[in-house]
Homo-oligomer: 299 residues x 2
Amino acid sequence: MSLTVIGTLAYDTIETAHDKREEILGGSAVYFALASSLFTPTSLVGVVGQDFLPKHTEALKAAGIDLEGLEVADGRTFRWSGRYEPDWNTRHTLDTQLNVLEHFDPKVPEAQRGARFVFLANASPQVQARGLDQIESPEFVMMDTMNLWIDIARDELVELLGRVDAVVLNDEEARMLTGEDNLWRAAAAVRALGPGLVVLKKGEHGAFLLEESWRFTVPAYPVVNVVDPTGAGDSFAGGFMGFMASVGDSNPSTLRQAMLYGTAAASRCVESFSTDQLEGRSLQEIEGRREELLAMITP
Amino acid sequence: MSLTVIGTLAYDTIETAHDKREEILGGSAVYFALASSLFTPTSLVGVVGQDFLPKHTEALKAAGIDLEGLEVADGRTFRWSGRYEPDWNTRHTLDTQLNVLEHFDPKVPEAQRGARFVFLANASPQVQARGLDQIESPEFVMMDTMNLWIDIARDELVELLGRVDAVVLNDEEARMLTGEDNLWRAAAAVRALGPGLVVLKKGEHGAFLLEESWRFTVPAYPVVNVVDPTGAGDSFAGGFMGFMASVGDSNPSTLRQAMLYGTAAASRCVESFSTDQLEGRSLQEIEGRREELLAMITP
């Protein structure tokens, strides 16, 4: 079934303890769509500047991503620069240049307004809400967010949480949003804000899902050589929702499998800088990792 | 089948962010045996001083623990005092008084020398080795250790690792012993030192098991109200080996189930100070938690 993502496209500059890359393709919608399009046709709604390279547009198209909703605005593409501590768990933002994102007003093309599955990738809650307003009657809407919005746009964020079916956030964000240290309590407190389903990501410690009457945990895929964790969360969401949309429902058994597919997709993402390990991949490779994960959790 | 634990008995003084307790029953062998004896008859080899209270001896006996190997020496029982940070992950040792432990030489009673399953709970590798020397031909030996021994008795520890079937250690210890940050790599490096099976505990993030050709992960049971994490690792090991010994083998399917039982036992332990939540418990309660865990990991 149709899947639409609304989010960012970026050029990232990233430093790790081992290496550095400048001006590489990134952005929440990019990582999401490259992962989700392995499962199901995906439409991307976002904005880039005049400097967005044709080769990157081509790479997204080659992955089968529908770019009708990609606006090319006057100005430069969004830039983000960050540095990871050797333990990968701590990330420092070194520089953010909003550029064309500053006045981004998502325009969902006519053909996507009937989308059944929608992912509101990380962006300001106002932008996310304006995107969601344009979808007529989605079956399943999931959103992401980040600490910045919890800090400066909490009211808008909480309002949006009341409009979505699911939210995916990491441990730090869940604690920050709820004030609860214990992650199960934090997830329950997030649920109380509206979304029936909360997916909480814990990096190398995996993820868990909390619904009203059930919960499901999944370990991280044991990646031996992490190169760059940027985009792992969006790739997780892409695998998760891509699988859901390919099945076409949000039943508990689908959601549980989606957790495994999301984990498998995220594990590919972190093995390279930028989108190298997501581009040109086949579903078969993701399937192989899902099977390994399954073996790791089957008693 | 017969299970013997060699380890410590202690009086602990513990501070958490919420509460404090003085001179409460603790020690690695105590936590282990109270958990394992829910599954199988357990013999304890250890030492206490003249001040060890009869009510504590009685509590261990009431749990069905065989105390023939419990020596009562001149002097005072081992004391340990520690404080936990609010996040539970950081523990500061405030005071250690070895007392009767200083000259502890474990004496395995004749009746226990043919033990099939043996747990060498945390003690100096020299003491652990002298205990193991007295067991004739055990089927399965698992050991624990701590950062102190990695620091001051690494050679003896590494030598002992070459003599056991399995080792259980936490993330910090695994990193310290191997110099590997990535926990899967660290576990593999520990395996390379001898034990075919490595169980790596990650506190609130659960645990995983690494064997030559397979691995298994388990989340922590979602305890909502942690009171005192002291003894969680030993309770885990007790549930793990108690179940193994009750089944009587070390097949992969038994080991996987043992991970769930260990997790369930540890979750009871942390819900109270000292051994309150382990004493007088039934296997049925542990079974209930194992079933909840199973539901959490079944896709």
